[in-house]
Point group: C2
Chain length 367, copies 2
């Protein structure tokens, strides 16, 4: 009998680091960043029946404003979600997963496995991911909270790390979670075999509910009350605002995973990227012999290592650039060195302070 898995897609990120393409009304996960499909579409299509698994229709947890667009994007790929839970406000991942677990419990499916996935990550080798999920199933069925640890390809400072205990099999106990390190510490972590914390989890709904009740009781209580008072219509589930607002804004890592003794990790090498900056997008994009990655109208003349992304903006003519990023949209153009792509939030903050609508509103739907 195949094990039935509920994919839980977390569509939470605001994605300001990919401004001006990513906007509040159309964040990263709802954009076609790498291929033809949007990232939430790629995430929904990443899993498939097989390897002893039966993959159910996905449950989405998303910001209220994005519900209609998500429904449309899933319909475009022929996916009917189990439901789309619309958070009345952003409260980070622990409350979001709490809502999903309560949704399952309310249907009498508390023993069902939940595969929690951010839907703004890239996984170049989904077959490796599926194999890791299959490997994680026995531990999850036993009640373990299983996380997936990405084998690092560089000493990144932008991710948390997981130290795994020694072990033979694919599933190993977690020794500890550590926060985003500085460069020196990151190099040591990589040398010592630590794994990147990708924020992907497999567990039974009731295992998560019990762990949340124990380690993050405010989160658990808010999720229970919000779903007890939820309204449902046409595939959308609307948790009770007055209850959900009481949930602390906290990540599942802090609230549950780092505190629970029942946490395991499956190391996996699956071509993972969180595409968390324009520099990261440049790294995962097809590049020419000069290391340039260009998409959309424009020309890179005598440029090297430069990312050009034009989504409905003016033609971009660039000359003599090195390791730059240029993004052209109908109402805003970004120019910055790739090495400073992480600082784009500063730009967006300044634009918001100036009262410009550019940070929120997307002028045009990208093709």
């Amino acid at each position: 009998v195949p094990h039935d898995i509920l994919p839980v897609l977390l569509s939470g990120g605001a994605g300001t680091r990919l401004w001006p393409l990513s906007r509040a009304d159309r964040p990263k996960q709802l954009l076609p960043l790498v291929g033809e499909r949007t990232m939430i579409q790629d995430t929904a299509l990443r899993l498939a029946d097989g390897e002893g698994l039966r993959i159910g229709a996905p449950l989405i947890v998303a910001g209220e404003a994005h519900g209609p667009l998500i429904a449309e994007q899933l319909a475009d790929i022929g996916t009917t979600p189990a439901a789309i839970i619309l958070e009345p406000m952003a409260r980070n991942t622990a409350p979001a997963i709490g809502l999903a677990a309560e949704w399952l419990a309310a249907r009498g499916e508390g023993e069902r496995l939940m595969l929690v996935m951010p839907c703004d990550h890239l996984i170049a080798h989904p077959q490796a991911f599926r194999a890791a999920v299959a490997a994680a199933v026995p531990a999850a069925l036993e009640g373990r909270l299983v996380t997936f640890g990405v084998e690092p390809t560089e000493p990144a400072t932008g991710y948390g790390y997981i130290e795994a205990d020694a072990g033979d099999g694919p599933v190993r106990p977690v020794a500890r979670f550590v926060e985003k390190p500085d460069a020196e510490t990151a190099a040591r972590y990589v040398a010592q075999g630590y794994l990147w914390n990708a924020g992907i989890f497999l567990f039974r709904a009731d295992a998560f509910r019990a762990a949340a009740a124990l380690h993050a009781p405010e989160v658990a209580a808010a999720a229970v009350a919000a779903m007890a008072g939820a309204a449902a219509d046409e595939g959308f589930v609307r948790p009770a605002t007055d209850a959900f607002v009481t949930a602390p804004s906290i990540s599942v890592d802090y609230a549950v995973m780092e505190r629970s003794p029942a946490v395991s990790v499956v190391p996996v090498d699956m071509g993972w990227s969180d595409v968390g900056s324009w520099d990261a997008l440049a790294r995962v994009s097809p590049r020419d012999a000069q290391g340039n990655a260009a998409r959309g109208d424009g020309a890179l003349v005598d440029c090297r290592g430069t990312l050009l992304r034009n989504e409905g903006g003016p033609y971009v003519a660039a000359l003599g650039l090195e390791d730059m990023v240029i993004v052209s949209t109908p109402d805003a153009v970004l120019v910055a060195p790739r090495a400073r792509a992480e600082e784009i939030r500063r730009l967006v903050d300044g634009i918001e302070k100036a009262g410009l609508p550019l940070a929120r509103r997307s002028a045009q739907r990208p093709a």
Copy 2:
């Protein structure tokens, strides 16, 4: 009795080096590059009666396509031109000046002084220019071809130089004209007191006609025939195409000035720039404490020495740039290091080869 001077404004440049703001249908001289007025407007307003001079209504020599826009821009500043001569094709400066000289001769004003000025140059200190013109008048009245030599502020390689003979007064004989030098030669020229050839001239129409007939007879003959067959309507003069096409395309420097023994130069320090590149524009634009020059919608965050010019294009957000130029227009955006601004023609050539209309057509009239 004041000496009567006819300003002759040459509106010939195609201005591809200031693409994408400058286009074939709206070249540099028809744009407000530095101040509020377009460069042809600034040129028309640069002269004024005084210092023993009476300045007549200007005569314009321009490309046929630009006639209506020039008439409109002059009307906007309350200037009624003496006439606008529309060249049926571009033939460089010698034939253009030939047309103007014939126009004067045909009106019986062959002895009148012509002050020939490109109308895509910046002169920050017009009072110094006017004083130099006044100083040049006696020599010009005697039949000398007088050029104005700009005192160099740097060893520029983009201009031709003039070597003046020693002399006491403001007007000195020209020893020789030399072409655009390499950097080493330019430094030597500057050390030796050579002057920049700014392409500004004062002479009697008949003196020029005689010199052209002697040193550039094909130019002279074509100008005579083209104006003999000219048609005039509503302030526009249209030289005969079949005659003008026979003129060689040659600059007045090559055709006449370098060959005539009757050439004098007036050295002048007048804050002159040909604004021949985005880098040159950056040098003459108001800059903030970080050396940035910004005009139009956008933000330069943590940038230095960077020129941002937005004329109706998307908002430009730039982060961490040094000595770059960014130009945003409704249909094209340029990004390049200022040091490579001279190579923009390469970009435009590539765009033309790709069959894009961006090199010719301006999407919107700049404010």
